[in-house]
């Protein structure tokens, strides 16, 4: 399996991580419609190319990571700690 360069632990076999896929933004539960909510639940870009997705280093640092990965070549061009990404997004 490919290597995932964990920002904390260094490159590790992808088998150490749990894949959680592309994540969409969570709609406001107070105002959301069934259609909007189910697009959030079920629909993904499923891109053949670069995607941004979530992985969890369950056998290592136990950090949730935001990974930019190519779905055909499995190249990984960026991995960041999810907290860092979430804090930036909150700004």
């Amino acid at each position: 399996m490919m290597l995932l360069p964990c920002p904390w632990c260094g490159p590790r076999n992808a088998g150490e991580f749990k894949y959680a896929g592309e994540g969409g933004a969570r709609p406001d539960p107070a105002t959301t419609t069934p259609e909007e909510w189910r697009r959030y639940l079920y629909f993904h870009a499923n891109t053949r190319g670069w995607v941004t997705e979530s992985w969890y280093h369950g056998a290592g640092c136990r950090r949730w990571l935001v990974v930019e990965r190519h779905t055909l070549t499995h190249e990984v061009r960026e991995v960041r700690d999810a907290v860092q990404v979430a804090r930036e997004g909150a700004r």
């Binding site: 056998a59 290592g60 700690d81």
Partner: protein, 218 residues
Amino acid sequence: MSDTAAPLARSPIAPSPATVLDGWEVSARAATGASTLSDETPLAKVLVRAPFDGAGREALGVGFGRTLRTDLGSGAVLLVGSAPGEWLALGAPGTAPALRTALEERLAGTGELTSVLDLTHGRALVRLQGPAATAVLAGVCAIDLADTVTPDGTALRTSVAAVVTDVVRDDVAGVRSYLLHCERSSGQYLWDALLDAGSRSAVEVTGFRGLGSGGTAR
């Protein structure tokens, strides 16, 4: 309330033959060979959680990925940077309450959310030591064990024989030695897997070694 027998603490790894040391049932075996596996579960194990890059880290004096031999007032301690924002403090059997207090004092005043948990009972701890240690561990662990990559004093977490394990390189007097620390209920399995992996390298079981004084200062 009726009288009860004095509590006997037991490791998840069944000792054979058994003896009692510091209130713990331990193995009475003494290996004669150079490469050994020992059950170190009786060591006090205290977990610290704090921000990975804050005042807590400064107060503890060691970051993720490395170890530190120190004394916080409760006796000799091996402080392990086991994950970002997570530390594992190992001390002599029975010292967990004191170690916990010492750590709490050390972290008081950081103004950060810190948690200190006694996990002595929640984890299994074994030591794999000797010339065959590297080869045996390489049979069940994908980490590069070369000195250049994981020198003495390295702490990391990875999968060992399919169990999530803290791997701590803690050489003893220049002899290659690893502490392996996992969730308690997997302890017997991990022990058996290591013995099996060592069955072609003459790894022998030996009794509780304790923390010792460690190797050279680092």
